[in-house]
Symmetry: D3
Subunit: 289 residues, 6 copies
């Protein structure tokens, strides 16, 4: 169950409102790298958690924290949009000041749809999508999803930090950058605690590895045909990272034959040309019944 105190986790100040930066901040709210994704991802993982109880608590702790990050960013969007109407008090109608913002790259829906507030969309106006929320039922796969989300998330925060010179906004972003640093470390810590690379991989570690094909499970296959691939490195020789095999390098070649599907059946309504000969008589029979 959840509670709130109506305060912000960290101060949000906007020194100079900037509708274009409001547009960019939306990426950190409803974008694939944003806070709605991590918040809901951690909560769904918590709710679906089977196994040691402490991981459920941990996911709830951090999922709930992320909700406060959406709140901070939504507040930042609204404050960055406040400038607009203020200026408007003197310029009306004929001046079309909204239009100037839009011509200058602002998000038209910040004016038309949300009335100068945040939306559940990314910086292009594409809505948040539930398919981004990863909760696989496999804890290690989920941890990688989380490290990945915090890595693209921190990269996004760095790019936003570089895109503004507003002191208040940079201060807020320096807090979010710090939290992303922690969260990257946190999910990595779970992976270490549950056995590290050699314990966890190949994920899922509960599938009996005997059942996978042993000719291809530690072989780098190069599909390059014109000269040698330059893709040589740690992955093309030596012990595998999971400690369960030796890397090999191999040129790709087909182990299967040309696939062949049968002629189309009369009932599938392909063109006649796709059906076998004598079709004309058969189809009559089929439809006579």
């Amino acid at each position: 169950m959840f509670y709130h105190d109506g305060k912000l986790q960290y101060e949000v100040k906007v020194d100079k409102p900037d509708p274009q930066f409001a547009k960019m901040l939306q990426q950190a709210i409803g974008g694939v790298e944003g806070e709605m994704r991590v918040c809901l991802q951690y909560l769904f993982q918590a709710w679906n958690m089977r196994g040691p109880a402490k991981y459920k608590d941990m996911l709830l702790d951090t999922g709930t924290e992320e909700m406060a990050h959406i709140e901070m960013l939504a507040t930042a969007v609204a404050l960055n949009l406040e400038g607009a109407p203020n200026e408007l008090k003197d310029k009306v109608a004929g001046d079309s000041p909204f239009m100037e913002q839009v011509m200058g790259g602002a998000n038209p829906r910040h004016i038309l749809s949300s009335g100068l507030g945040a939306m559940a969309t990314d910086s292009c106006g594409v809505p948040f999508n539930g398919s981004w929320i990863v909760g696989s039922g496999n804890m290690a796969a989920d941890m990688y999803a989380n490290v990945m989300a915090e890595s693209t998330g921190r990269t996004l925060a760095a790019r936003l930090w570089k895109s503004t010179s507003d002191k208040g906004m940079r201060d807020m972003l320096s807090f979010l950058l710090a939290r992303d640093t922690m969260h990257q470390n946190q999910w990595l810590a779970v992976l270490e605690e549950t056995g590290g690379l050699k314990g966890a991989h190949p994920i899922p570690n509960s599938f009996p590895q005997d059942e996978e094909n042993h000719d291809f499970n530690y072989t780098f296959i190069s599909t390059k045909i014109d000269g040698e691939s330059e893709a040589k490195g740690r992955w093309s020789e030596g012990e595998s990272l999971d400690g369960k095999g030796q890397f090999k390098f191999e040129k790709a070649r087909p182990y299967g034959k040309k696939p062949h599907l049968g002629a189309a059946s009369p009932s599938g309504f392909a063109q006649k040309e796709q059906m076998e000969e004598g079709f004309t008589d058969k189809i009559k029979d089929v439809f006579k019944k």
Copy 2:
């Protein structure tokens, strides 16, 4: 540039066609854990690659291989659907045999839309979505996205393997499981080669860490209010995984104040009640102009 030879990378045989399994296999084609995603993800990462050339080659090598996996799975779907029309030759019209399939949980669009072939959708019929393709421009973030994709991908393959007893299908899946094992190792190898945890994290490692808030970058914040959180572990004390800090544990509390947005501006068309007093006079002025 790309080429093909019209053959399959590995044999695809279906011993007993099964439309319900065809439906499930779609998850491995157009689902978020599927092969279209990894194929396009590796190719886009290759095309956008800045930095050491060997990683571009490696991504092209594997992205191109994944294309062959989609081909194998699409063939498997078509072969699993072949049974249906054959049976139909004897039962027609009045028998509504298509309907029986659909009542039995088959995908109606395999009959209605694709004419017994594979589609670019997941197992529920939801179309593949380009937002799943991660190419962040940051190599380490991308590698985590790739480990995650191969981890959920191998978990999916294991679940599919368990959902069928068809010998041909299990053989094909044992090949795909093996490739996922290799690919998990492969992306981890890149991470090791480029510095491991201490070299890569916090991602992006090119953002000057001085600029992030040092009070919060290695602190686990627990948002639990009723008793102590059980979320203690490797992440709540000791050296951080990136070697750049010491973990701390802290109870969540607000560092910011209650946020306050100003009154709504006349130009935003909120309700009058949301605007400041004296609005009635102001709005007249505004619209008089």
Copy 3:
């Protein structure tokens, strides 16, 4: 800022696990009538609230409560899916028990993607979409969006209640039905408090009604051509609900002319036939430059 206590707002018990009911419950999580929508809708409205402070508090109070409802439903989905693996302990491989579930209408992704847990999708597997979150910046419009959400939400809960005979599930739904009753009343109370129909309408009440066309603002227009429309009622005569006009009934007719777009420009790459005569010469000029 947000907190949790790790407990459920109300008890969730499943007497007899039922994967098909798990599928149906997803509609109440990630469907357009579900709890993710109301939770995020109330929170975004709170974060964007301009005007009297108490409405912001109220929206935060209820948005935070809805988070607990998602938690309850996610738990219910996981518990309804627990039955499946238990049965599986005795039937393996050759029996394809997963397949039986899927043939019986269960959601394949509950097995393949979430490992027997809840997902951020509706009952057909369509992902939650951020476009469903209404936060218009206009309080009265938002309140109607909220009443509507709770009305379709309670209708959904009633239909779910009727679709199961599981005592635990009906008890949980009787709690959710009660909360929907309260929330319908709650948003209606805000509308009454801020002036009722005559105060709020037409929404937005801050647009100067002088500027709208007075020939058409209280006229019911019937587009029926074959005989009289039966659409007579409270809306076709008498005082309007907002108290600002008298209803009229009118047969539809065009007040505008047939629209005419000019010939296509050479630069738009329509077919030549869509361009004006003499195009051939002009286009040469255009491309000569």
Copy 4:
């Protein structure tokens, strides 16, 4: 069945073509607040209508009218884009005049995809989505969906009106504003006619209210933990709006316990760490079969 006369319901004139305004107008065509939504929503509600015949007629009357509004707006978009090619006649190739438009915030797809015509998208280029069409089978829930749609629709029209100073465009919008006023009143009139708040609520009024939990159906639950919530008002004491209860105010607290899911089953391919002890032996048994 439907008919057309090829004329516009109301005059559409553009005094000065403006590609940026064309972009904004798209919100009123294919946006969530737009005319495609209301048109299809009213028609689907009509086609699915069970109950008194006059409401079906009424929904058909208005759904058909809305089709004419899409037509007007599509014409307005095309006319606002006509300016572009005219200017182009003198500036070609090297001047990249299309680019200037795009740099100035115009929608690139108006040039690249539609050839200077309207599209079925919103102002950000996001396609119209069928999930926005509400037809719940419950008439009162549908009426609230309709009031909400016309409230956000009229708010959008007001914001568009404020965003242009083009006389022709303002005249067209003053007509659409008037129709939205009527339609808000019209759906409210249906609600009044079918019993008003006390007759309709809680929606659905056909679910036996005895079956809902009576401890929570008229209680405002505040989830605020730090001091008292300011959310006191019409909804926290006195008779409920539906006349069926008395409002109460209560601090949130959990009535349920900490949820507990069992250990992961071997067949679900979680990590081993998520499974019960002794798993190693069991899994062998499972796969031995």
Copy 5:
């Protein structure tokens, strides 16, 4: 402008209600091959039409007719779902009859969301999407989009016809099949009237063909590397269909070099390893400012 008469274009009778067939019929309403797509596609093409007026009229005529087809199909869905509640009168609660339908492959949202009516989705429950509406501004491209839509549409209707033995449903489908036959012919007739293959192609015929690369515009390029491609036919030799070239057959080979992107810039927040040497000093400079 549009009108209705409240009647169906053609009789819709359901002899034996069938919820599974209701699910399949949804493909013809909100699916990519369905009537919502053609209806809106023809109307948008009409509204955006530049060029000879008769084509605008024709598109309006047929777009308006398609609206009546959606109406017929929506009625058919509702009638096919009517059986369900009737049976329910005797079986209640404990019997979970809704569940039986869902276990039998019915669409859960027909029960949960629409209350036994049609929805704006396809047969899998995926919402209609505005991106399917093609209106390119180029008349010939649009005509091909229309022939394609009617070809997949008639194929769908044939498959639906084969999936039911209900006399009423087959009669309705025989009407829709007939209309699709006409509409295929109709759009082909426009192509013939505006010049046929040699007049229209390559589309757009207004782009000066001199500007396209003449080494590759009539050459079939085979990317097959293992033996000769079997892809020889009408397209590999002889005069091209547009009469403007001679077909050639060529083995694929690269005319470009290996692409090379520069090192990543400090401002893009790639990993340090992706940046040029000496980066460490430069980055300090950058951030010193």
Copy 6:
């Protein structure tokens, strides 16, 4: 199976990097008219191909070629974005140069999400969608889908060509325009080879035309009510294009009656007003059980 050589099919040179043109080029990558669509469409059609083997080879040949076109365009996007960071070396922080790009209409996600590389989205940032991939199982329907895709694709390429004056970009586009010319001809050649209009239509040609309604299969139906429709032409009289009928022209009129759905069932949770009289007693009975 697939291979690559790491080279470009045709040279990609950017003389003057241009972030706005990078944004526009995205339409040709991930847009509905773009190369991801044709690539995947031809490959899925190949993999699902039943019938003469040469068509499978041909589709593989061209699908594989299109992959190289995505590669060219992705490279072009990355090169057009390279300019940005270069300029940045001198202007930092306070200058907010990223913002200037965005204000100038650049895609914010090229900075925030992809780190100056291509994405799987269209020019508005809307993700690629799998529903655009047409593979109907009917070869002729598929060929029309392909002609349509190449017609809108070539129109897009022409518009891009006109939107830039960069010599390198125009050279690349002149190659892509040429390939689209070939591909239009190629799919038309398949249609000619398999019987032309009279052989293929009505598609599917395997549905027994006797079963379609013969009163309506060659009749143009005009839904215009106000005066005569101007939609007279090749389609309103004379032999049909498929050679199987004579065109007729007819004014639309209803052949069906007003549809009537029964009263709502108690179990569907409509409002009471939608149910039959005496409902109150019945519902009690229903819930008593």
